[in-house]
């Protein structure tokens, strides 16, 4: 029974990692950059939610939507202000800028909300589900359900809509996509908006399970989700989903059966081993080069 409980915990945590990892991997695929500020979008999402619900008494459902919109706008804005001018710069410059954006957002939160963690009431009001002696919390049910719905919707969006196809084209060859009439700037904005909105959802689910938000709330899940994206093969959408789930399960089992202190070390250890064996990640493709 404990095994099953830990598996559910792992799936729960993994779903959150997967949602964040999707943002990392999509942005990497389209803009060819590692957006290390992505984790902090979760924090912004969680604060937005908390302020909307407890300060302005907005109902939880609407608050989540507000949080998604705020994060999507923030994602588009950071890209336009910080990353777009660097499109022709070296990857290292962009990486350092992204880390700068991350510190900026954390400091901004520190300035506005202080260093004390803010309590966030769970916006999930669903009752737990009991199956025999086994109890599934409302948070778990909602987290798993929402993640599945988002993954299906995102897959359909990318493979079935024109904008999705344009995203695939831009991720492979920006210049060629532009020659087809694809507006590359718009496509990059859409990608940042989707990635950041997913981070807002992840932030909601994360703080609903943990109950608090602070300026650095996004840092650790952000790094873990980055590991998940690399594990699954950065740039690959199914890879980010798989990587997130696997990482969540490993972390949960490590905490339960090996050691709580060692759990993070084990998670990063798995990444090292996978990259040694498969440098492109689990579902990452080696690009075919044809002259």
């Amino acid at each position: 029974m404990e095994f099953l409980e830990q598996l559910i915990n792992g799936l729960n945590l993994g779903s959150i990692y997967a949602l964040i990892a999707l943002g990392y991997t999509m942005v990497y695929g389209i803009a060819k950059m590692l957006n290390f500020a992505h984790g902090d979008i979760i924090m912004v999402g969680a604060y937005t939610l908390s302020v909307a619900v407890s300060t302005f008494n907005v109902n939880p459902g609407l608050s989540i939507i507000i949080s998604m919109i705020v994060c999507a706008a923030l994602g588009i804005l950071t890209e336009k202000i910080a990353y777009k001018p660097l499109r022709k710069a070296s990857p290292l410059t962009v990486l350092i800028t992204a880390i700068g954006v991350s510190y900026f957002l954390e400091s901004l939160a520190l300035l506005i909300f202080g260093s004390k963690q803010r309590k966030v009431a769970s916006v999930i009001t669903m009752k737990p589900l009991s199956i025999g002696s086994f109890e599934l919390t409302g948070e778990s049910i909602v987290t798993l359900g929402v993640t599945i719905i988002i993954m299906v919707a995102l897959t359909l969006f990318i493979n079935k809509t024109k904008t999705g196809k344009a995203m695939l084209a831009v991720s492979e060859d920006k210049g060629a996509a532009q020659l087809m009439g694809v507006n590359v700037d718009f496509t990059i904005s859409v990608t940042f908006a989707i990635g950041s909105a997913l981070a807002a959802v992840a932030g909601t689910l994360f703080t609903s399970s943990y109950g608090f938000v602070g300026p650095y709330t996004g840092a650790m899940p952000g790094i873990k989700a980055f590991v998940a994206a690399v594990l699954g093969g950065i740039g690959s959408i199914p890879g980010a989903m798989l990587g997130g789930i696997i990482l969540g399960i490993i972390e949960s089992f490590s905490k339960a059966y090996i050691s709580t202190q060692l759990a993070d070390a084990i998670v990063f250890g798995v990444l090292i081993v996978v990259l040694l064996v498969r440098p492109t990640g689990l579902l990452g493709k080696k690009r075919m080069e044809k002259v």
Binding site: L168, E172, L179, V184
Partner: protein
């Protein structure tokens, strides 16, 4: 008035003055060849026309519109398609997905379906392989896909960059046959080629580019008999 008019165009790559004040024009219905050695600026010229790189000065006018002031993604819907050097098809997508991206800016699905049929008629191989991943096609098939993808936008003019590059002689002949037949069905063609012999044979007029300048121009058949062209580009 010419369909496409390039005037005093100057293009820089960083510090390098790649295109040094060239002017030329393409009239409706023509096949124009731009020939020259590697690094003469042929590809740069095409890239500047479709906005993949910016110009320092000069003008590019297509049917009265200034292309240097047009956002690059709007150019295709004005009736200009570009088959880039190295084909640059979307390797990870299927043949059909590539073709559909060629019609990305077109709104009417019925018209797109009709164009798709005409592309399939022209390239039966693409129809056979429509669900295949494009990266697994042979070089010649990829070139056909790149041309088919350009035709999907129903262009008035196609810019073709080295369509014969890296292909077997059999495919080269086939590609040039297709260029002639696309032209005879009403599409103007601006052709950049290192295979000067084939290009001049297909073209009405030609311009010879040398280190960023046009050094010779005229009737393609006359240029074929020009001694300096013969010596430098035709290997005679």
């Amino acid at each position: 008035m010419a369909m496409l008019e390039i005037k005093d165009l100057n293009v820089y790559y960083g510090m390098i003055h790649a295109i040094k004040g060239i002017s030329f024009e393409v009239n409706e219905g023509e096949i124009i060849a731009l020939i020259g050695a590697n690094g003469a600026g042929k590809t740069t010229t095409l890239h500047t026309i479709t906005g993949l790189i910016g110009a320092k000065s000069g003008s590019i006018t297509f049917e009265g519109e200034d292309l240097l002031k047009t956002p690059p993604h709007r150019i295709v819907s004005m009736g200009m398609a570009h088959v880039p050097e190295g084909r640059r098809i979307f390797q990870e997508l299927t043949v059909l997905e590539n073709l559909k991206l060629g019609a990305y800016t077109r709104k009417d699905p019925k018209e797109v379906a009709e164009t798709l049929e005409t592309v399939y008629d022209r390239f039966p191989r693409l129809k056979e392989r429509r669900s295949q991943i494009a990266g697994t096609l042979s070089g010649g098939e990829q070139q056909m896909l790149a041309m088919g993808r350009a035709l999907m936008s129903h262009p008035k003019i196609i810019l073709m960059d080295e369509p014969s590059m890296g292909l077997s002689p059999l495919y080269v002949n086939e590609i040039f046959d297709i260029i002639r037949s696309v032209n005879s069905s009403g599409t103007t063609i601006l052709l950049v080629e290192q295979n000067a012999k084939k290009a001049l044979a297909a073209a009405n007029r030609a311009y010879v580019l040398e280190t960023g300048k046009i050094v010779l121009s005229g009737d393609a058949k006359e240029l074929m008999n020009d001694d300096s062209v013969k010596k430098a580009y035709l290997g005679e």
